[in-house]
Symmetry: C2
Subunit: 585 residues, 2 copies
């Protein structure tokens, strides 16, 4: 097919759109691929739709090759199934909710676990029907608080979501592996480097969860990895707790005056002035007060004790306390708990243990796993301008449990013993996830097994954000002058530009595009008679088809110039050579 630029619905823009924060957004709008309709909501112009269709085709082919079957659910879904699994509430403000004319509650689906579960329950009832993997490529909705970065985090976005159904754990492992393998093939075909990292399975109740991250310094996700092959996002990282230390011979805790030392740094400095020995932040026990908002609306105060050289990592805390929402406690929260003296909070006071027994205090006290029995700490003494040193965990204070919220650092030991981790950043490009039986249990999806016994089905969930992937590819594939698409997803195979006065170039270009079309290539042909060479080259660079052919100066001699958009290499060849080169790849 040949598309003439004189006919194509596109208008390249010189100016960056005002709201664009990232390169992909800026360039996709300027090059005429997408157009904003509302915050996080975009229209697809012909160029954009072509790239999207190519990505979808690759995904569809690999899904089908992996034995998954395509279906398509509506975006508009009734409340009831989401109510049954708790997601109607759990999703909070992220869910677009609406009512129909009769007052019935609906939502715009963010994903379709419930619907797939119910569909399989409706139609299948025997282990003989399994394994089964279904997928769809469909528009989804999330009412993001800060829709930003163009397609990277939209409110309406296209996703491939797949769901597997098995009646045994081994079956789930096989289905999971089939999807995981398909994802590897998809990202290879898309030219997207990836790292597979362990992800938190957490609140979803599943057993195995991995994310495909594209490693890039500008990624919004942080992950850790070791040279020994361990990789996890920080939410899934688990701390290696040291062995407990015997209490024998440890001195008693001693309270000391510490006026105005309400930060770890001032506390350490002061302690090193008034006490023997050289202490660091790691010798202090920092007590952070968090406020959780539970699904039923109640607000709970939780205190987390962790080594003073660590902070609470917001993402790890989010996962640790989900589905409750977590935020730092406010002055008002503290005012309601006079026990907690800001700057001097600790699990113990001269009168004895203070925190660590929720039933007594009404406050949950959770510890970082490093705070094992026998470790000795400097921490608040629960009085203004007082701290305590020599406070020993397990002897002087207890906790209501442990929690994984402390920040992860370069050099922390990997939980699998493969060595110290290094932090890196990446962008999530896919997620494979063993849901287990959570949805099947909530919605009653059971099948008869080999022995005629009803067993609950176990499920997997597998997602790729199609429009997000497109943006990520654009983010990785551009230079100052515009986009540079990988050949597998470029809107066209070749971009032919005719320039110059007289008819020679246009005649030659017409011949060239006809030959390329005969070879079944998709060709964009810049046939605009009045646009200057500068405008044409500028548009070609902005639009970003990786292979360019220019019919211009040498056209009278039957010569064209092959351009490589990525390297900038140019080469003068005959028409016949150009056709051979472009069609032989």
């Amino acid at each position: 097919m040949v598309t003439r630029l004189s006919h194509l619905f596109v208008r390249t823009l010189r100016e960056d759109p005002a709201e664009a924060e990232v390169a992909s957004h800026r360039l996709l709008v300027r090059a005429g691929y997408i157009r904003r309709q509302a915050a996080g909501v975009f229209a697809w112009l012909p160029l954009g739709l072509r790239v999207k269709a190519r990505i979808e085709r690759i995904i569809r082919e690999e899904m089908t090759a992996a034995g998954a079957q395509e279906v398509h659910f509506p975006a508009l879904m009734p409340r009831e199934p989401y109510e049954a699994t708790g997601r109607w509430d759990e999703y909070g403000d992220l869910l677009f909710r609406l009512q129909d004319r009769k007052g019935g509650d609906y939502l715009l689906a963010p994903t379709h676990e419930e619907a797939f579960t119910l569909l399989v329950k409706d139609l299948y009832n025997s282990y003989k029907d399994l394994p089964l993997t279904l997928f769809q490529i469909q528009d989804k909705y999330r009412d993001e608080a800060r829709p930003r970065a163009g397609l990277l985090r939209g409110r309406e976005f296209t996703m491939k979501d797949a769901y597997s159904f098995d009646h045994t754990d081994e079956g789930l492992d096989r289905s999971y592996t089939a999807q995981r393998d398909a994802y590897e093939r998809i990202f290879r075909r898309l030219g997207l480097e990836y790292v597979i990292v362990q992800a938190d399975a957490g609140a979803m109740g599943g057993s195995r969860s991995e994310e495909f991250l594209h490693p890039t310094p500008v990624g919004e996700d942080t992950f850790v990895r070791t040279e020994g092959g361990y990789a996890a996002n920080v939410e899934a990282f688990t701390t290696t707790a040291p062995e407990p230390i015997p209490f024998d011979g440890l001195p008693d805790p001693v309270v000391f005056d510490s006026p105005g030392t309400t930060t770890i740094q001032t506390l350490v400095d002061h302690a090193n002035e008034v006490l023997d020995g050289e202490r660091t932040a790691a010798d202090t026990l920092k007590n952070v007060v968090l406020a959780l908002t539970h699904l039923d609306g109640t607000r709970e105060i939780v205190v987390v004790g962790l080594p003073g050289d660590r902070d609470v990592d917001a993402k790890r805390a989010e996962v640790a306390f989900a589905p409750a929402e977590v935020e730092p406690a406010t002055e008002e929260d503290l005012a309601r708990h006079p026990l907690l003296v800001r700057g001097f909070i600790g699990p113990w006071s001269p009168q004895g243990p203070m925190l660590g027994e929720e039933s007594a205090t009404g406050i949950r006290y959770l510890l970082d796993p490093r705070v094992v029995d026998g470790t000795s700490w400097i921490t608040g003494a629960n009085e203004l301008d007082k701290h305590v040193h020599g406070l020993v965990a397990g002897r002087d204070f207890a906790s209501d449990g442990f929690v994984e919220v402390a920040s992860v650092r370069d050099g922390d030991p990997a939980p699998d013993g493969s060595g110290p981790v290094a932090l890196a950043r990446g962008m999530e490009i896919g997620h494979v996830f063993q849901l287990g039986r959570k949805y099947a249990e909530a919605l009653g999806l059971k099948v008869l097994d080999e022995n005629g016994k009803l067993v609950t089905v176990t499920m997997g969930s597998y997602g790729i954000g199609v429009t997000r992937i497109l943006a990520i590819i654009a983010e990785l594939s551009h230079d100052d002058r515009g986009l540079i698409w990988p050949e597998t997803v470029s809107p066209f195979d070749v971009h032919v530009v005719a320039t110059g006065k007289g008819d020679d170039a246009y005649r030659l270009a017409e011949q060239l595009v006809a030959d390329l079309e005969a070879a079944r290539l998709d060709v964009l042909y810049d046939d605009r008679p009045k646009a200057s060479p500068g405008v044409k080259f500028g548009d070609a660079e902005l639009i970003g088809v990786p292979r360019l052919v220019v019919a211009g100066r040498g056209a009278a001699d039957g010569q064209v110039e092959l351009w490589d958009r990525r390297t900038g290499d140019r080469e003068v060849v005959s028409l016949a050579d150009a056709v051979t080169r472009l069609t032989s790849r």
Copy 2:
């Protein structure tokens, strides 16, 4: 591609779904094509998705061939552009409205005229950019009061909508004709017989509007046509008014007692008893009281006078009074207008004219176009149990205008003089529509013309309901035992069934499907080892692939049976012949 039925996600059902009102709905659910998610909202299973994709491909090919370019708008659209054109209100309860977390108003788009207009305004500014026709195939939303008949009238449905942009009326005519021609090709390829009828352009402000109707006695739309080539839906039919009659020598109106004659029939019977001559319902003037609800919420009472042998046609009234909603007046409405004595309403009383001057009465009085000056009527005298005869239009009473709401009948003269019309029924399968400048004016879409002058763009709008078309094809293509797809949209090209004990049939079938796959046919292969021949044939008939091949009894001799699902014809042939026959079409 070969799809094995043992693997395909499908479960045929013996029972009709409880909510199914029409054959297409019943069969598409039973055969495993679709599955209801909510009233008027369906999920697409693999079989259904295949048929839908084939229809979409045909539409896409013909749109592209007609020079239209594909784009894709979001379903979630902000309120503002729909507010600017008045549709936010005009659509009333049909619109799904919702708010985002910040309280911003959004809708789920029923169509995208506004968005397309604004997009072209954003990017184009010269007559040189035109003509332009854009289309999308996209899921749309209408909160129907009575979503019914499965996919025929859904609340979430897939539509191809196209919009053309021109700067001259002649250009619009050309763009319109190109779409109209494409529609003819699409419906021919889909095997859908059609009639192109004039449709009402009415409230949309356009100049030309035609519907493609599939003629069928079970259609929900009524249209009229003549042997001379006229065709229109009843909403667009215009009444041929007779010539006015001179008043000279017509006797004065005479009031007569008519106790209890509150219907046309009792009035005619009574009149024929007490007056000279033989009267019929056509000699009476029926006055129907209607209540309009305007967009601003105000309620207006309108009286319509029409010959007593006609009724008010609800659809014609809907169009005539749009965007106001129209319904019969209630007792309460009448109570508020003591002027109107139910059963005896008329435009005149012995005290003189009663209706026909809105400024005096506060009630609009509109007449059927047949009530021309000089016609003489029996009608109510605005007193209980009194009528009047010899009441002459234009002499004794006037009106506030004419209105096209009377029912259309077989034999009514066509407005183009091509003879008497015949009524017929059909299903709407497409609509082409000259919008004119309404949207461009409301949203400020102008371009510079050849003389450097800003001119408002003129637009066309062209729609095909993809999922509706699919249902209509199913509605037309079935028998008692199941669906019978036209070859162009069948989910598979061939359905191969292996039956019988032993391996011969399966071996032969495997060979057959391999040969068919090599010839690039899409094959559904019923390889289920344990299903009985009865189950397999039943499923094959229900699923409705038109070409069946059975490998069974003669398999040991290399013979298969070719079945024609539509005619029921069967023929025993060799494997090689079967392949030749199936691949040579």
